[in-house]
Structure formats: structure tokens, C-alpha cells
Subunit: 199 residues, 2 copies
């Protein structure tokens, strides 16, 4: 509390953003006060512009500023393999490594009873619609290895298996560069479970 109402309201707004604590929120509010009027308009303009232009791709639900996202409209991508991810950042992560040539489906969240996120908040209806196309042969469920990521993966696997489509998940194990002595028990036991032949 600064004793200046409009400053406290601005601090409050920053504190609502993810990963921003009270101290950081105040620092950010103060730094905007130092902006010139032009800088303020550039900041506000960037927010309005992004909100106005960015929407979900009608096919994969990823964020895009085009009618159909560049991945869905790329004729070089394999439409028979769909990689299901939590959000647009996961798509970016996969695209950066360039080892996946299929298409995506973005859930926009993970099932979380704790936060009140139920399956109908995710874009699962849109995923089921895509699977009406019989050419889809595999769905890779690529949610994170967190409690919510795994619960969501299990839910999707059970939802899709009756449809006869192959449903797979990412391998779990020791991360690259990971030393065994620093691996936690769950990671270690999963790495053991998932062991493979040398090929």
C-alpha cells in the first residue's frame, strides 16, 4: 500500500499476473510511471493489438493471427498424427526441436479439480471432431509430467481408446545430461520401467 490509490490499483493489476508477487508488481507499476506518454501508448497498443488479432486456429486450436495457423495450413505436415498439448507454449517448444512433423491439438489447460478446471473447459470436443476423419492413425498425448498433466493424459486416453485410434504418450526417464544421483525416485523408477533394448 503506497497511500496513492491509483498506484495501488495498478500494482494490484500487475500482481494478478502469473508469477508476479507483490514486490515485483509494485516495481513494475513504478516503472510504468517513468514511461513517456509515447511509451505508454506503445505498451497499451501492443496489448490491444495482440488481443484483437490473435484467436484460436479453427482446426488445432493453437493461437494464431491467420485464418488457419501456419502448421495446419502447411501441406508438408503429416495430418495422420496429432500431438495433443496443454498450450501454445508447448507447440513452440516442439517446433523449436523440429523433430515432429505431424500436427497439434491445443487443449488450453489441464484438468484440475483443485482449481475447478473440468474436462469441458478444454478443447476436447474439437479433438473428437477431428478424429471423425478416419485418416488419423495416432494421437500422442504430450502433456507435462505433473499430477495435472498425467490426470489429463489418462482422461484423454480413456476418451479416445474406444474410437480405435492409437493413443501414445511421451517417454519418461532421465533427462539429457541428468546424473543418476540427482534423479528423484519417480523419475528413476520410470526410466527403469521404460528401459529399451540397444538398437
Amino acid at each position: 500500500m503506497s497511500g496513492i490509490e491509483s498506484l495501488d490499483i495498478l500494482t494490484e493489476q500487475f500482481a494478478r499476473l502469473p508469477g508476479i508477487g507483490r514486490k515485483s508488481a509494485q516495481r513494475l507499476a513504478f516503472s510504468l510511471l517513468k514511461y513517456s506518454p509515447e511509451e505508454i501508448e506503445a505498451f497499451i497498443g501492443a496489448i490491444r493489438d495482440a488481443k484483437e488479432k490473435i484467436h484460436r486456429c479453427p482446426t488445432c486450436q493453437n493461437l494464431t493471427d491467420r485464418d488457419i495457423c501456419p502448421i495446419c495450413s502447411d501441406p508438408g505436415r503429416d495430418r495422420t498424427v496429432i500431438c495433443v498439448v496443454e498450450d501454445a507454449r508447448a507447440v513452440m517448444a516442439f517446433e523449436k526441436v523440429r523433430s515432429f512433423r505431424g500436427v497439434y491439438h491445443v487443449l488450453h489447460g489441464l484438468i484440475s479439480p483443485m482449481s475447478g478446471v473440468t474436462p469441458d473447459a478444454l478443447s476436447l470436443r474439437e479433438l473428437l471432431l477431428r478424429l471423425e476423419d478416419a485418416s488419423v492413425r495416432e494421437v500422442i498425448v504430450a502433456t507435462g509430467a505433473t499430477t495435472e498433466g498425467e490426470a489429463t493424459a489418462m482422461y484423454i486416453a480413456r476418451l479416445l481408446q474406444p474410437l480405435g485410434v492409437k493413443v501414445t504418450r511421451l517417454a519418461h526417464g532421465i533427462p539429457f545430461g541428468g546424473e543418476l544421483e540427482y534423479a528423484d525416485e519417480i523419475t528413476l523408477s520410470r526410466a527403469l520401467e521404460g528401459r529399451r533394448d540397444f538398437d
Copy 2:
């Protein structure tokens, strides 16, 4: 780079803010995309409102939304002692502990040759004007114990001493709860230099 221009521009805007790295900036940009139109307007409104209403107090240069800030207009404050601080956050820190009953002068920065901040960027002219009032008997230079804080304190001390006003600085030493074995050498030698009689 997300491949979505307006998202990259928004990310860039967040990355300009202090203490926000590229990853955090992207996270913040994404989180705004999830806001409802009403939430976006509340965020933008808070920015505009703070910028419009908050200005410097004509006396102490502290940020305020009133003509004269609440401290300068409080008849209970001792106008003969001025505490010189870097910014409005330092004022808040002092006001929280409530042990200072004088008034403040906010520099809005520290001298920093590295970042190109010269003395004339600080509100020193306004401080000199206040000292024309002969009733001021002490100026406490309360900048931080950093290289820039100390350089600024030295500069101000040299600037004010010819005026005949008493110029003091904060005590340096072991912080409350600080264990000697964790104190760095400079802190320790300052604590020794500044040693006092038991009273």
C-alpha cells in the same frame, strides 16, 4: 519468437520492464491473451489512471496524487530534518517503520556514470531551493549501500557542506539477526569502524 507478430511485440513490451526476462515476458503476454475484454480494459484503465493522476510533489518530489503530498502537508512532521532518498519506494520503506518524523526529498535516481545518469538528472536543484529556508538544520542522506548509492551520497555531501547545513548518513553495520560469520568483509569492517559505547 512465436511466429505471431503481435504476440512477439507484446512479449517485447513486457521484456522491457525491469526484472522481466524473455521467458517471463512471454508468460505474461500469454496470460493477457486469456483475459476477458473487461479485464483488459481494467488493466489498461489502471495504467492510464495512474499515469494521469500521479505526479511529483512540488516540495519533496515524492510521487503523489494530491497537490502537496500527505507528508509535506502534515503539520505534525518536522520540517527542519530532510531525509534524502533515491525513490518513492524508499519513502514507503521509512514510513513503514515509523521511526522518522521529518520530511523527505526524493532524488528519482542515483548518479551512475555507467548508465549515463549525471547529477543533473536528479532533483538536486529542488533540494538546494529547499535549503534556502534557513530553518532546515539537518539533511540525512539515506541512499542505499551500493556503489551508486554511496557515490551519490558523497556528491550530495560535498554539494551541501558549503551551505553550513548538517549532513549525515545512515549507519552501516551488521543487520538485525545477522550472524557474524555470514557478514561480508566490508560490512564487518564498517560495523567495527562505526562501533559505539554502550549507553
